[in-house]
Symmetry: C2
Subunit: 342 residues, 2 copies
């Protein structure tokens, strides 16, 4: 008798546990999220609360601010928003490292600017060459090869190159609090997109794995590609030394329109290169919208820069954030840590 | 005692039923699919079998041909593959209808080619103007307005315009067997993309709802857009009379690379404009690949055209399908019906 009593209780408990497991998906997501902190690396404060309130109200069935899954589009800048960008964009470091590695096959570069200055280590002189110099560097390090070969070059570089200040591999210098935000949005059926001035091919090599953002949701700048079929019948896409699209400033809404075809409901950037992306996002109507700017003010744990910086300059964004209703995320105050948990 | 025995049995049955309900998702999808016909509008035959075999082997856990969800990319042409394209691309019909509607505000068009010929109904003369004439029509009917205004024009046209032969609205002239194939792939975690020579903006107005393909998975040709902020502070994207990208022929792999960043594992087209898309798909290695061409040979229920046609010409594709391992879908033989079920 006691045995049967025990069996009944155990069976009922197993059944109850099974049904409870079913119920923990889908509509009860809101309740589950409130029980655990979805942004553990963020300090409690107005910004963290605003983010969680936004996600909760837009994903809770019956809420007047509910956004259907199909319209949950969140766009993130990359350089300076998801990973660091000092002392220069990491992709520029890649370009420079590539030129150095290729130099032995290009003796003529020792007598030709901007390659001469670069190989002599005179970065100031390289930068003084302006956009023309930059395009030559990009052409040498990015073009004239297949997309496959380019991807392999990036992969190899990420394995070997380390940052002069932190000693970390570049794809380790991503922001833990932002990884948590991406994960939080993704688990609430937000489609997260990268919308970056950086190279679309460069990012796709590592960003899919690092951010759990699929390739087709990564938007960036590009040089042209050309379809070529070799004598062996094997087709390749060859990268050409010609700008295709610059996904920066007023280019970002253009890139968003081209790749996504919908207005985002959330956009997160860090510089004036993201101003139009945030403006395009938060002036749209019909749903709640959220714009955020990451303010780099943390010289101790990362870098402090804004109005005066050449890289990631933030000036108009600082002036207008408040009147535009954009949240200014304070790296020093809002983040418990900057980089990945060890 | 008997009561406790009964309670135990019932509880255990409830628990077992609950766990079984869990098990009917995910991994048992292969078994569920075999029980019902996923392509009811397709006649039994080699092509239908090949499609079902491909989906089954690439989605069954443990299969040597298993493709991880992240790489399940399927690309579809639109004109002539998902909907009809005779006697001319439906978007061209839209352009012509727009010019006619706008003519009252453009008296100068009565004395200017190709508008003069168009308004006089002389389509042969319009076409003789070649690409230059076409660009002028596109500029007039597609450019100089915001993306929002353009979308509204397309929406309105779809509600009112009907096909001269079938009397159907244009977005009703989609192929039922292809809708089933899209649905079949989508329910097996394939991401379905449109890769079309047609306009990306034009398609996104109606294709998302019709094909259940999200906007960001619709790839097409485009004219340039420009970000402009009005005096009221409201930003718009204005469509410019300048080609941005032609997503046709060797442009299709370029568009696939730009938007998706991965090689498809399945591609379905109907004309030589899809040759390179299929070639780019089936020459890729590492996974099983499937290329399909829809051969329009059904003069009674749709149209019959291939080598001689100006619209949707299929010539090299017919010659090479067999040696390339591409399936030639025979509209007459393979399809029980062409358009939507009534």
């Amino acid at each position: 008798m006691r045995l049967f009593y025990l069996l009944t209780v155990v069976s009922l408990l197993l059944f109850a546990a099974c049904k409870h497991a079913d119920n923990k998906t889908g509509k009860d997501k809101g309740e589950s999220v409130q029980m655990t902190d979805p942004l553990p690396s963020w300090n409690e404060g107005a910004n963290k609360k605003a983010i969680i309130d936004f996600v909760t109200k837009t994903t809770t069935e019956g809420s007047t601010d509910f956004i259907p899954v199909a319209d949950r589009i969140a766009c993130f800048d990359n350089d300076g928003t998801l990973w660091s960008e000092q002392p220069m964009y990491f992709q520029l470091t890649f370009a420079i490292d590539r030129v150095k590695a290729m130099a032995k096959d290009h003796p003529e570069w020792h007598n030709k600017e901007p390659f001469k200055a670069l190989l002599e280590g005179d970065m100031k002189k390289v930068m003084s060459g302006g956009e023309h110099a930059l395009l030559q560097l990009v052409a040498a390090s990015h073009a004239g090869i297949s997309t496959e070969a380019f991807n392999q070059n990036v992969k190899d570089w990420l394995k070997t190159a380390t940052h002069p200040k932190t000693g970390m591999h570049y794809n380790e210098m991503v922001f833990q609090p932002m990884l948590e935000l991406l994960q939080y949005l993704q688990s609430n059926d937000y489609k997260t997109f990268i919308v970056s001035g950086g190279g679309i091919d460069f990012m796709r090599v590592w960003a899919e794995e690092t951010y759990h953002i699929p390739s087709h949701q990564i938007i960036g700048s590009s040089i042209k590609t050309k379809y070529e079929v070799g004598e062996d019948g094997i087709p390749k896409l060859i990268k050409l030394p010609e700008l295709n699209f610059n996904d920066d400033k007023d280019g970002k809404p253009v890139g968003i329109h081209q790749h996504i075809g919908k207005r985002p409901v959330l956009a997160f950037g860090n510089s004036d290169g993201d101003y139009q992306m945030l403006q395009w996002t938060t002036t749209a109507t019909g749903y709640p919208r959220l714009g955020l700017i990451l303010h780099h003010n943390d010289a101790e744990r990362e870098w402090a820069y804004d109005r005066q910086s050449h890289i990631g300059k933030l000036d108009k964004g600082l002036d207008d954030a408040s009147k535009n209703g954009w949240l200014l995320v304070d790296m020093k105050q809002d983040w418990k840590q900057v980089y990945l948990k060890k």
